[in-house]
Symmetry: none
């Protein structure tokens, strides 16, 4: 019985489980106990590796599960941040890039999209971080229960006009979702606000846009986002989660009404 064993066995029976699962459970317990409060950072991997007398690989495996369950969020250069103490997950949806967003649209048929141009009014400009009077691209997305089903939620995403070629580039080879849009575009979708999370992926995005990849501070990211709008549908800074931006989501009344 080494110190490590004491750590793992302790007052609870973790026997028989692989190491990473034991560690995952311990961390999970700590989350539930409030030892790692929401918003705080977990100890870095190396530190945990020392504590649990395991390799970084094992720690990462444990943290992977915590992330997949929505407990924590990990960010290169920052750390592992607690985003939820229990499983009461908000409706999470991560789009890393325009490409990914379109990918979802095309592959799953769960999101149907339309692209138009709008002129920002003052309120909208404030919201998206643009200038009133500017022309932006508005991407309307609708999530469907199934290919022939009913709309569940409605997503609005804004992109500066200067990135039109990017939108067009991906919109070109789509096809299917436009057809779907055509079929179901009539009839207004009533609103009931919900929130959805979109995680920015600056690196992929810069690469995708052909910009020079470089270092991004959060400040820089925010400024770049509001000034140049590389991120889609990123409206408000979410203070509780340093890495997330809020999107406005409108849920169809048909979901609850009918």
């Amino acid at each position: 019985m080494t110190t490590k064993e004491d750590d793992l066995v302790e007052d609870r029976p973790h026997d028989g489980l692989p190491r990473y699962a034991q560690i995952q459970k311990i961390l999970e317990d700590r989350l539930a106990a409030g030892i790692y409060p929401v918003g705080s950072l977990l100890p870095p991997e190396l530190e945990l590796a020392v504590e649990f007398n395991s390799s970084r690989t094992t720690i990462r495996e444990a943290l992977r599960y915590l992330r997949e369950r929505g407990y924590v969020e990990r960010r290169q250069g920052i750390g592992t941040r607690v985003i939820s103490d229990t499983s009461r997950a908000t409706f999470y949806q991560s789009f890393g890039s325009l490409e990914e967003l379109f990918q979802v649209a095309v592959e799953t048929y769960y999101v149907v999209m339309d692209v138009t141009t709008v002129t920002l009014d003052s309120e909208l400009a404030e919201l998206v971080g643009g200038l009133a009077g500017e022309e932006w691209i508005l991407i309307n997305g609708v999530r469907w229960t199934e290919p022939g089903g009913k709309p569940i939620c409605y997503i609005q995403s804004y992109v500066p006009k200067r990135f039109e070629h990017v939108v067009a580039q991906f919109a070109d080879h789509q096809g299917p979702f436009f057809a779907l849009l055509e079929r179901y575009s009539e009839g207004p979708i009533e609103e009931a606000v919900q929130e959805i999370r979109a995680l920015p992926m600056p690196v992929e995005f810069t690469r995708q846009l052909g910009l020079k990849p470089g270092s991004w501070s959060l400040q820089l990211l925010r400024r770049y986002m509001t000034q140049s709008g590389v991120l889609i549908a990123s409206f408000n800074w979410h203070p509780a989660d340093q890495m997330a931006y809020r999107m406005r989501i409108h849920r169809s009344k048909e979901m609850t009404g009918e």
Copy 2:
């Protein structure tokens, strides 16, 4: 430009992506192209590692994504089996606890349920880990596209009789889904077996049952589950995903047919 580079770039611009992502995309392409047909086994990890001139770790990372997307299923001692060629994603549903399951039933109207009592025959006893002749509670659940929609899948869940009060407790304040069940219970639901994932959430569950909250090893959890039945609808250990249990799901023909 080494040989490896030729392998990866080929006719497709996968540059800039990490190695495992490139490999994942290539494998994904092969799945779409039918090179690895549904039901067949992918080459073993070591073989792929040689082919892509990478380490087994990298290959596993690529395969992990394929598994998470529902393309393949992995089993120790067998291999990596193709279970879906393109976007025909597996239907995943996580239920953390009885409460959560009922919550889904009541709030979303996606699951409609009925509770009866059955006597285990030998086969069933083997399946749920009980004794033949024992009386268990059978929960029949149906997932709907929407409140007035069509049934998608049919779920059977078994709980030992001794936990009847737990079931009753939640079944009491339901209402709507029983009404729905009544409306749609006639007419048999034809079967097309599908699998669904149920993640156990031991902490919430113990709390819910008034037991001492603590960590649960998977073995203990499984034993407790089969002997005491705290978890519903958890039948088989899913080796590919250490934290998941399989449920047996029967998909209605109406989904694909009609």
